[in-house]
């Protein structure tokens, strides 16, 4: 039997997660101790173990409540296997278009190697962009919803192609009756009013890159001449977000070993007028700014601080969204989605500037992962199957992990980077993910309990 519960203490809360049902229970200290022994069938053993510390009648009372949960199938719910709805091949629904293998910034931590992905700098042509849209539609089967993200490098370096592909997408939507969500990830350096108008008029969601405080941002995100960019990009982001009434965007940052106090960066982003935020750990190895196992205690401490700050601002009526803390505990994704995870390699592909297809944007440039191209289709039939089958129930390290239905088994690209195998998760990433999930569950439990009074 796989692990079926996870209990933890976070920011003063005792929480019990029933892994296979997704139920989250707030429990008192005595019940917390009971769960060290209780397996659903051994009440007498629990009482014998804890009678020296707690009143016997109180123990029996808590055990009766736990049995009630078992009856409701919110404690020790049965193991979950691969659902029939996940069988078969994946259908591609999402593309990341690397419209520019070039960038006007030289971010220290860029996995794209300052935009060129370890190869020649290059721009996607209009024809390749159109072919990508047609590839997606041709392989979409019954799917109705699609996504295309304009990415790079810096996609605004090749803005004419972004405009062309956007118009082509809207034309194809009318012709096919299908629906595309478009996003664009930008560093903001050339995000002028003309560009902004086009993005607004075409309902393009934005992922805006800012690392928080000016000194933190400028250290890792200089331009090609080595100068900091904070003072140039911030006004652009503020103007763009104000024009769309604070909707349809994420402000996204990266933290590294240089800013372990990243709560201050999240709060700096909020104080600068943004309230839809994400802050991600850098993925890097063998560099001075890389996060390592020895950094974990400090990182955990910082997520405790971030959780407290997040709750404090919510309670004060000026809350913000933090991507990793958003979670609908009652109506989350289905099991098939939780196994599919990010979909890289079977539902989600990246398209390089030359039209080459890769499992995701981080695999571009790793040639053994090239799947084919938007012109010839997927020619490597094995890899998509391998990616689809590399889900949490097939990975030895994930099968028994309490976080298996929340984390999607970690990032394949990171696993490959650190272990040369997408089925060997990157340990530091897992550790941070689990801490963040505990914080997210706590935030959701705290807000729900406080709302209820």
């Amino acid at each position: 039997m796989l692990a079926s519960i996870h209990k933890f203490r976070q920011n003063g809360w005792n929480l019990l997660l029933d892994i296979n049902s997704g139920a989250v229970h707030v429990i008192d200290d005595m019940t917390y101790d009971i769960m060290d022994t209780f397996d659903g069938t051994n009440d007498d053993a629990v009482v014998a173990a804890l009678a020296g510390r707690y009143d016997r009648a109180a123990l029996r009372e808590a055990l009766a409540e736990l049995h009630e949960l078992i009856g409701e199938k919110t404690l020790f719910a049965p193991d979950i296997g691969v659902p029939p709805t996940f069988a078969g091949e994946g259908i591609v629904k999402s593309l990341c278009l690397m419209v520019a293998h070039d960038c006007n910034l030289r971010c220290g931590y860029c996995f794209a190697g300052t935009g060129d992905f370890g190869g020649r700098r290059g721009l996607m042509t209009k024809e390749t962009g159109e072919a990508a849209v047609d590839f997606l539609l041709a392989h979409s089967g019954p799917r109705r919803h699609f996504e295309i993200d304009f990415f790079g490098g810096e996609p605004l370096v090749n803005f004419p192609v972004v405009q062309h592909v956007t118009r082509y997408v809207r034309q194809r939507e009318r012709e096919t009756g299908k629906s595309f969500k478009l996003t664009l990830t930008t560093n903001g350096l050339t995000l002028d009013e003309t560009t902004q108008r086009f993005l607004d008029d075409n309902n393009i969601s934005l992922v805006l890159s800012l690392d928080g405080r000016k000194e933190v941002h400028d250290r890792m995100r200089p331009d090609a001449g080595g100068r900091g960019t904070y003072d140039r990009v911030l006004p652009n982001f503020q103007r763009v977000v104000a024009a769309r009434q604070g909707q349809n965007y994420y402000l996204r940052g990266t933290y590294t070993k240089y800013n372990p106090d990243f709560t201050n960066d999240v709060l700096a982003m909020h104080d600068a007028g943004f309230d839809v935020l994400s802050m991600e750990p850098v993925v890097a190895k063998d560099t001075p700014y890389a996060l390592e196992e020895a950094d974990l205690p400090r990182i955990y401490e910082e997520y405790d601080r971030l959780t407290a700050a997040y709750l404090e601002r919510h309670r004060a009526g000026r809350g913000f969204f933090f991507f990793h803390f958003n979670m609908d505990l009652s109506n989350g994704p289905c099991v098939a989605k939780r196994l599919a995870g990010c979909g890289a390699g079977h539902e989600y592909f990246a398209v390089a500037a030359d039209g080459g297809l890769y499992p995701c944007h981080q695999f571009v440039g790793r040639e053994k992962y090239r799947l084919g191209s938007v012109f010839e289709g997927v020619t490597n039939r094995e890899l998509p199957r391998y990616f689809r089958e590399s889900h949490v129930l097939n990975k030895p390290r994930c099968r028994d992990c309490w976080a298996r239905f929340f984390c999607s088994g970690g990032c394949h690209a990171n696993a490959e980077l650190f272990h040369g195998d997408i089925r060997e998760p990157y340990e530091v990433g897992c550790a941070i993910q689990k801490k963040r999930l505990e914080c997210a569950l706590t935030v959701q439990a705290a807000l729900a309990m406080e709302k209820e009074g």
Partner: protein
């Protein structure tokens, strides 16, 4: 209950058979491009 407060009404088990329509957003695309968290994704069917 006196010792336990359940926070949510989970639906995970019920989705084993009926989920999998695949109309939802790819998680990595939604905000960050480096995170594959799925626990915080929205079901497109429920959003409709």
């Amino acid at each position: 209950m006196k010792h336990i407060k359940t926070v949510n009404k989970p639906t995970l088990q019920s989705t084993i058979k009926k989920g999998g329509c695949g109309e939802c957003q790819a998680s990595c695309q939604s905000a960050c491009k480096t995170s594959c968290t799925v626990g915080n994704q929205v079901c497109e069917k429920q959003a409709d």
